[in-house]
Symmetry: C2
Subunit: 143 residues, 2 copies
Amino acid sequence: MESQDLRNAGLKVTAPRLKMLELLEKAEGRHLTAEAIYRLLLDAGEEIGLATVYRALTQFEAAGLVTRHHFEGGQAVFELERGPHHDHIVCIHCGRVEEFYDEVIEKRQRSIAEKLGFNMRDHTLTLYGECNAPSCMNKRIKS
Amino acid sequence: MESQDLRNAGLKVTAPRLKMLELLEKAEGRHLTAEAIYRLLLDAGEEIGLATVYRALTQFEAAGLVTRHHFEGGQAVFELERGPHHDHIVCIHCGRVEEFYDEVIEKRQRSIAEKLGFNMRDHTLTLYGECNAPSCMNKRIKS
DNA sequence: CTTGCACTTGAGAATAGTTATCATATAAGA
DNA sequence: TCTTATATGATAACTATTCTCAAGTGCAAG
């Protein structure tokens, strides 16, 4: 239950926070911007402020409930932290995001950090490319 | 000579652009923000506008003369594009940046992209950790 | 050399994304 | 139920960057 997640994080259980978590749940791994979350909730008839969305997302991130990614371009995107770590590949044409995990790369990163005298704490790996989704390829031909 | 780089890129050879390239050259691989470049030039007695710095950096990037990184936190940093591709590891305490290149990771990325149906065009890999520089460790103990 | 003009420049306004402020509202332990 | 630390929404403020525009300048053609 989401309310338990909130309590564990030392956050009060409030309507805006629950709605946001539900939405992220329903989004099933899609990567949403703060703005998108705000609009979706408004469209669903919820009363919520953009500031609250940003605030809550920051708190969720601190609590390890969501992850923030920056990819290329302005806005940050958020996704629910379900399961283990993974990296991303983003289509430079349609923005589609796929996730992957590679043990070889993970191991290699740790040993590189160690060799350079760093105690590794985190990393971001994002690949960019052209995806082979039909809808995306069509768009490219037209333009 | 830098002026040739500019001509090759289809850019006119102007004082501000040359000064910026010289500065980046002297920075020897340090990663500078647009703001830092601007201030350094002002301090050196050059007359230049911040808008010009941003404009030129964008043009240099398009021409492949410099690379733009986002790391964590607000401002982008720039470095001269000398030699082959490399990735970065950043100290989360002092911000020190080291560079590395790992053929195993590079290969692995390409095959992952292919497997997922992407034609890979680019990637960013940044590790974050605590560095073992004496100056950095001291600061941590004090605070 | 001059000259013409497309390209540049600097200053400041404008924008995008995000965070801070503040008065009001509310969750939840006593 | 009371109390109070937290949370909320509206809006102002802020940061990084880009845009606008009038004035200036590199450079190719004469």
